[in-house]
């Protein structure tokens, strides 16, 4: 299962009201990892000389 499929599966469970709090927590943590990666890509921009 890809990361996107995993997230969508968790989202579906949350939407349907069947997700446990542990699963909700996993979902949010995964989202935060993605946001952190986006942030890091932006922070590191321009450092390779291509501006």
């Amino acid at each position: 299962m890809t990361q996107e499929q995993k997230l969508k599966t968790l989202a579906q469970k949350i939407k349907d009201g069947f997700a446990t709090e542990a699963e909700t927590l996993v979902f949010l943590k995964e989202i935060n990892v993605l946001l952190a990666e986006i942030k890091n890509d932006l922070k590191n921009s321009g450092k390779n000389g291509k501006i």
Binding site: Q3, E4, L7, K8, L10, A11, Q12, I14, K15, G17, F18, A19, T20, E21, A22, T24, L25, L28, K29, I31, N32, L34, L35, A36, E37, I38, K39, D41, L42, K43, N44, S45, G46, N48, K50, I51
Partner: protein, 164 residues
């Protein structure tokens, strides 16, 4: 009563639940803080200066975040029904990053946070609503802003390719 209902619904109620509630709240707030930082970086021109590979990574990850969270948000409230309009475009990568980030925050993450507030932070709902209201205002301005004379979408050449 609330505890009993949760147990009945999920069968997962245990002594760690309160701790998980705190963790969920922390993750929600972290997501909001990270989004704000992302907005600030874009406002400073970080996205414009990213190399092509970084832009592609940003685009893919942003779409993944939006695609999953918006699936939730669109079905969570009539007030965010407009999220439905954006989901197909985001999933197909047809939405400009700045616009995508705006939708992420306005139509989805705020809804997610508010839903989380309802579920886990009832006493702090107004506080969280206020914080995301400010974020919404900032992102609304960002959506109209051009970077280095172009929108982020124009720079990536992924400006709207046609509405669904």
């Amino acid at each position: 009563m609330e505890k009993f209902e949760f147990k009945k619904q999920t069968g997962e109620w245990d002594e760690n639940t309160l701790e998980k509630k705190d963790e969920i709240g922390t993750e929600l707030l972290t997501a909001g803080e990270q989004l704000e930082e992302i907005v600030e970086l874009i406002e400073k021109g970080g996205f414009a200066e990213s190399d092509d590979a970084a832009k592609e990574r940003i685009k893919q990850k942003t779409n993944m975040v939006c695609g999953t969270i918006l699936t939730l948000a669109g079905l969570w409230g009539a007030s965010h029904a407009d999220a439905f309009e954006f989901v197909p475009r985001i999933i197909r990568g047809e939405m400009a990053p700045a616009e995508t980030l705006s939708v992420l925050a306005i139509g989805a993450l705020s809804t997610l946070a508010l839903k989380g507030a309802e579920l886990f932070f009832k006493g702090k709902r107004d506080e969280i609503l206020g914080a995301f209201g400010e974020l919404k205002d900032r992102l609304s301005r960002l959506q109209r802003k051009k970077f280095h004379g172009q929108t982020a979408g124009e720079m990536l050449n992924i400006e709207e390719k046609g509405a669904p």
